[in-house]
Amino acid sequence: MEERLDAIFASYKGDKNEVIPILQEVQEELGYLPEEAMREVARFVRLPESKVFGVATFYARFHLEPRGRHIIRLCCGTACHVRGAQKISDRIQETLKVDVGKTTVDKEYTFEQVACIGACGLAPVMTIDQKTFGKLSPDKTSEILKSFSEAAEGGQN
């Protein structure tokens, strides 16, 4: 990890104002922000570890745990909520055996609920990675997840 961090630090001065862009790059490189990486960032920008931890936990964009290969974002905004987002959420949790905000044991999926993705016309709606799936029903959701896992298995063969 040290070498990968040093490669990132090389393009920064070590100023405390750089903490957010550095954390972003570290996360891009490692997929999440492990404790050891945050300690190194703190040392590099000469800030207390508590400060770096405070920043990393404040922004939803930073993740302190490893993430899945696919990120499922289920919209729970007003329109999706009234059109049954909760039932979709339940189905995803049952099918993948994953809690909200957590990652499946096999590290394939991370399941997140978000406030609004700006596609209310498609409610209830979710995204998996860059793909959008609208007008969901629980069964349709199961099918989508199934096709994703099959594609994943196909990819491995």
Partner: protein, 622 residues
């Protein structure tokens, strides 16, 4: 710019431009409630409890942040203001345990006080409540974040004043809390246990362990004393109940520490309640300490010291002091030494160089710290250096070791151990700063301060630099009354091959430690606890701790401060001066002292600079 005139609650007030409405109100004696406000921290307006009504303003404003404006008309206690404060209190209570009956903070809790003031007995808002684990794994204090109201003052003290940066706000929204990185317990963080977070907490989220269950604030007597942990001379209040010290709080009025403390003053005083305290004179018989009466112990000590002098001459009997005892004890110690060794010299002190004030650091343009880690040894002086840096001073840390102050340093000439003198002499000789950036910054500043350990081999070079370039020299010692001892003229004697007997006050300052003392024929030690030095003694005289006696101490600035007793010494322990006077009598000297005041009068008459500090004036500070 001219002063700003405004009206608060129907009364006119004038303030300097930039002053807040809160400051203007306080000038009038109007009490506006605050949780998150602290004059030495950045205004964050986090709690909103200080809202006031400003005529023609759109909304209520937080008076701690809003600058006073010309011709403003402010109401601090209108119905609208009161209703807003009641709402804020109810919202805080919605997520705050109401275990006030057993909460240590009861009686000095701002939340409790304001709820009382505004008649708020319950929240009325029902919702989620925090359930965070208690952190009580460290020795000194308990963190209960369920009681935290997120005012942020502890974070400010830790990050800005102390600089340890152990805690910060963690998470966001409802689950926001204050804590160390990675959810670690405080003990595993960079916390240095200065306790300033505990003292600034407006509620019961942070509690010192020492006082838990030992007394309510109104049952406690607060007595002003001087911390003997080093020679910064921080003023603090001993919290006494039933003849025992159960807690300590910093003295916000003290010009020395201004309400700051470090671990030594805040928590290490707890040693006075330690089972290691010596409560009766001890005489070693057959290698084992046996309790004795004062008369027996003093008679034996006097006889053995006299015997040593008669048989081997007066140089064979050494008098050693650790320079942490009071002026009164040091004065009698010194007087006894001269009477005993027969050179008749008496007082004649004044060897200490002119001192600089701790305020010189705060106002300096350049601060040079040489050969010491302030954050470790003199933390409160370190806080002042931080403040100077916040005020724009350039900081040069010249040291061979790593130090927490380095993160703050503009320049860090990394010295080889022993290279301090050469560094200081080079700097002194660098006319106009030469080519060295650190030297240039040092000489460019109008006010310069050099901070150096007293007694270091390079202290002379530091004094030379300061003298030649009109810099203030701040000499620091780990001994609580180093300067007082120097003023009184205590010479730090050594033990050599000729030494047969010794009288040691406090812990032996000798580098050889116990090994040198073991070789003596006879050793008498005066101390409050069974130290390594005392363990070598033939006679141990039990001394009162700093919390148990009336005494004066002189800090590194040369400031003479009075310390008052808050507790009774254990068993038969006596104040240092009393034990020395007792020994003097057994040595055939006709000394009669009724109390420490009488000794101080003698000090005032003999030691230059002490006369103007009339004892009554010192006492009046109370």
């Amino acid at each position: 710019m001219s002063a700003i005139k405004l009206t608060i609650d129907g009364r006119q007030v004038e303030v300097a431009p930039g002053a807040t409405i809160l400051e203007a109100a306080r000038q009038l004696g109007v009490d506006i409630p605050t949780f998150c406000h602290d004059p030495e921290l950045q205004r964050n307006g986090a709690c909103r409890i200080c809202v006031v009504e400003v005529e023609n303003a759109r909304a209520l404003v937080a008076s701690c942040c809003a600058p006073a404006g010309a011709d403003m008309v402010v109401h601090t206690n209108s119905e609208r203001v009161r209703n807003a404060r009641i709402s804020i209190l109810k919202l805080i209570l919605a997520n705050h345990p109401l275990d006030c009956i057993t909460c240590e903070k009861t009686g000095e809790c701002k939340l409790q006080d304001y709820c009382y003031r505004y008649g708020v007995s319950e929240s009325g808002y029902i919702g989620e409540i925090k359930e965070l684990p208690l952190d009580d794994t460290n020795t000194y204090y308990i963190r209960d974040m369920n009681k935290c109201i997120l005012c942020g003052k502890c974070v400010g003290k830790c990050q800005v004043i102390n600089g340890a940066g152990a805690i910060d706000f963690v998470q966001r929204g409802f689950v926001t809390n204050v804590g160390p990185a990675f959810g670690d317990p405080i003990e595993e963080s960079s916390c240095v246990f200065c306790g300033m977070c505990v003292d600034t907490c407006p509620v019961g989220a942070l509690t010192a362990k020492a006082g838990v269950g030992k007394g309510r604030p109104w049952e406690v007597e607060k007595v002003r004393a001087v911390c003997p942990g080093c020679d910064t001379g921080c003023s603090l209040f001993l919290h006494a109940r039933g003849g025992k010290v159960i807690g300590v709080s910093p003295d916000p009025e003290s010009p020395v520490n201004r309400g700051h403390l470090c671990v030594k003053g805040r928590f290490e005083w707890q040693a006075v309640n330690s089972p290691q305290r010596i409560s009766r004179p001890l005489i070693k018989r057959g290698g084992v300490f046996v309790e004795a009466g004062w008369d027996e112990a003093l008679a034996l000590a006097a006889a053995k010291l006299s015997e040593g002098k008669e048989r081997y001459g007066s140089d064979a009997v050494a008098f050693l002091s650790s320079a942490s005892a009071s002026n009164e004890a040091h004065f009698l110690f010194h007087k006894l030494l001269h009477a005993f060794q027969g050179d008749g010299a008496g007082g004649a002190g004044g060897a200490a160089p002119p001192a600089c004030s701790i305020e010189d650091i705060t106002g300096a343009g350049a601060v040079l710290v040489v050969g010491t880690d302030l954050t470790e040894v003199h933390p409160v002086v370190g806080y002042r250096v931080r403040e100077a840096v916040r005020n724009g001073a350039k900081l040069i840390v010249a040291d061979s070791r790593e130090s927490a102050l380095l993160d703050l340093a503009d320049y860090h000439p990394a010295l080889q151990p022993g290279a301090e003198t050469v560094f200081l002499e080079d700097l002194s000789g660098a006319v106009n700063g030469g080519n060295d950036a650190a030297a240039q910054a040092f000489f460019a500043a109008e006010k310069r301060v050099v901070i150096c350990p007293a007694g270091a081999d390079f202290a002379g070079a530091a004094a030379g630099l300061a003298g030649r370039h009109a810099a203030a020299l701040y000499l620091l010692s780990t001994d609580g009354n180093f300067r007082g001892a120097l003023d009184i003229g205590v010479t730090f004697q050594a033990i050599n091959g000729k030494t047969k007997a010794a009288f040691v006050m406090g812990e032996s300052p000798l580098p050889g430690g116990a090994a040198d003392l073991e070789k003596l024929d006879f050793l008498v030690v005066l101390d409050s606890a069974m130290t390594e030095t005392a363990a070598c003694a033939d006679v141990v005289l039990p001394a009162a701790a700093f919390t148990e006696q009336l005494a004066t101490y002189t800090n590194s600035e040369g400031r003479v401060q009075l310390s008052l007793p808050a507790a009774v010494p254990p068993g038969e322990a006596r104040a240092g001066w009393e034990a020395i006077a007792g020994l003097a009598c057994y040595l055939g000297l006709d000394w009669k002292y009724g109390g420490p005041e009488e000794i101080f009068q003698e000090i005032a008459a003999e030691i230059p600079g002490y006369g103007r500090q009339a004892y009554e004036a010192l006492a009046k500070q109370e």
